[in-house]
Subunit: 328 residues, 2 copies
């Protein structure tokens, strides 16, 4: 990267991205000026920002540059979808060591662009800097298309709780990698490159979702945010959350390899489902009379009270991910 | 920070920020949900993102937390002003070591909020993570209020080049700090906490500015971007850029302390003016018949050709800051 220089890098990054058509109604000013200008036809804009940091959120020896780019984009894009909006543009701040291979930056950029394309957005701007490790900060903008934003605070007693997208897959994949059980199975792929269900966000908004959140810290932790913001109790049914064969097999491998984990493989697999983050599934609450499309699985209900229970009881396992409290 | 935990930190950060009135028409959804929702009454939104990294852009022993917060905000806010827009909202991603004092994070937050207030914006969202050093990524959103964005590409032969805001002050202050000449003079203050002329951006747009840029990499480097994007030559008059007594005195101190620098203190001071970044002054080009308010100083003219000259000649000194090429 040092050979390119900052301005050469910015030019190269722009060149690696798909060309935005001058006729594209979303991007009025793209990369190359002091700021981007995007259309906000709805008169409002949805915005969210996220870090993806080497050593904390990814390792370069565990994930390809393409996957890291895709994951950085995914983390942000789904935040907009979780408001019921359609992602339109992504800003990417990239800091990297001077000896980072240019091909690595190219592959990262292509991963960012590919994930944006999957969500219907484009990369519109960013920043570069030098740092000792790879640092990404992504900011997504989105369009509500006339819909009211779906907040965390709208859940009411009597509502159903439903999810769409995998639960615990990324956490299981990360555990396998940490245990030295390398491989290219679907769980490890889920850690390397989550595939959030972007279009389910606007769909849920259209179905009248009363609250919505993306599962980034773990199901219990994130539904805890909904319960707290809404002033309600959420009670989950463990039989709706039963881990699939893939998670159970992974838990068995993890167990026999490390001797660590929950008392039984089944409990370990359920722990991943309940407290594993980074799959970026969506959870939403709906009025009980809504006819949900098959992709949404009802996993519990909203009641008066506070907190999150499983089968009416506190869940004893780890509740989720806290960046400042979690041990390495 | 470890004692607060991530969610405690987010709650604390929110509490340290000024409360946004529910009647504030700009912020429809603020901190605490998956994303913020801002008004974009113009049907367009201006957006820009920037890093401010410990060890690269600031040192905790050279700048207070309040100043670092203000500087992080300033770097982004001025990018929106340089398009001719009014900043409306700021998203702040903050990564920090677990042992960072909570009071430091509070002071940082207050600095962010104070600078946003100076620009007419509010902090609307962000992200937190743990890292070995303090990392900030700020994203600003802004409103063009019906004006066309002022790009880098609109300068035409015959236009005048004008600037508003200080040039070389932050670079001189940083040089004094690096030379061990600590103190609390205005140049060091300019490094620690630049005061960009936010309202001059929309003002220039209203005056029909043909191109505009904020001076973040140095006057020659940034006007080089304008010249390149516009396909023109920019010729500066050194007598319009003559360093003030403060810069000349600082150059003399620097010279006698270090023995380094340009051949004479005057040349060193002029080098800071021409190649010092981070003051975040604004440079713009205007049609020659525009009556410029006194805050704008004409420093040169646009001609056919390419590149940037000083008194018709190449400037021999350092052209500006390149994050990947510059040595430590």
């Amino acid at each position: 990267m040092a050979a390119l220089g900052e301005f050469g890098l910015i030019a190269a990054l722009s060149g690696w991205l798909p060309r935005i058509s001058p006729a594209d109604p979303r991007t009025l000013v793209g990369i190359g000026d002091d700021a981007a200008v995007l259309a906000a036809p709805d008169g409002r804009v949805v915005a969210s920002t996220d870090f993806l940091l080497e050593g904390r959120h990814f390792r370069r020896d565990w994930s390809s540059a393409h996957d890291i780019g895709a994951k950085a984009a995914a983390r942000s894009l789904i935040d907009v979808a979780a408001m019921g909006a359609v992602p339109t543009g992504l800003l990417v701040a990239l800091a990297a060591p001077a000896d980072l291979p240019v091909t690595w930056a190219r592959d990262l950029t292509e991963g960012l662009a590919a994930e944006c394309a999957r969500a219907g957005a484009v990369v519109v701007g960013g920043d570069t800097a030098r740092a000792a490790s790879v640092l990404l900060a992504t900011t997504v903008l989105g369009d509500l298309a006339g819909r009211a934003p779906v907040l965390r605070s709208g859940a009411a007693p009597g509502d159903l709780v439903a999810v769409t997208g995998p639960l615990g897959h990324a956490a299981a994949g990360l555990a396998l990698l940490q245990a030295g059980l390398a491989g290219d199975g679907p769980l490890i792929a889920a850690h390397r490159r989550p595939e959030p269900p972007y279009d389910a966000g606007p769909q849920a908004a259209g179905l009248g979702a009363t609250a919505m959140i993306d599962i980034s810290d773990g199901l219990l932790a994130d539904l805890g945010h909904v319960a707290s913001a809404s002033g309600v109790l959420i009670d989950l049914s463990s039989d709706r959350l039963s881990p699939g064969d893939d998670l159970q097999a992974a838990a068995s491998s993890f167990f026999s390899r490390t001797g660590r984990g929950s008392p039984t493989p089944h409990t370990q697999a359920l722990t991943w489902v309940l407290s594993g983050g980074e799959d970026h599934a969506l959870a939403a609450t709906f009025k009980p009379d809504v006819a949900l499309p098959p992709r949404w699985t009802v996993i519990g209900e909203v009641r008066t009270g506070h907190g999150v229970l499983v089968d009416g009881q506190d869940w004893a396992g780890s509740a989720g991910w806290d960046h400042f409290r979690a041990s390495e």
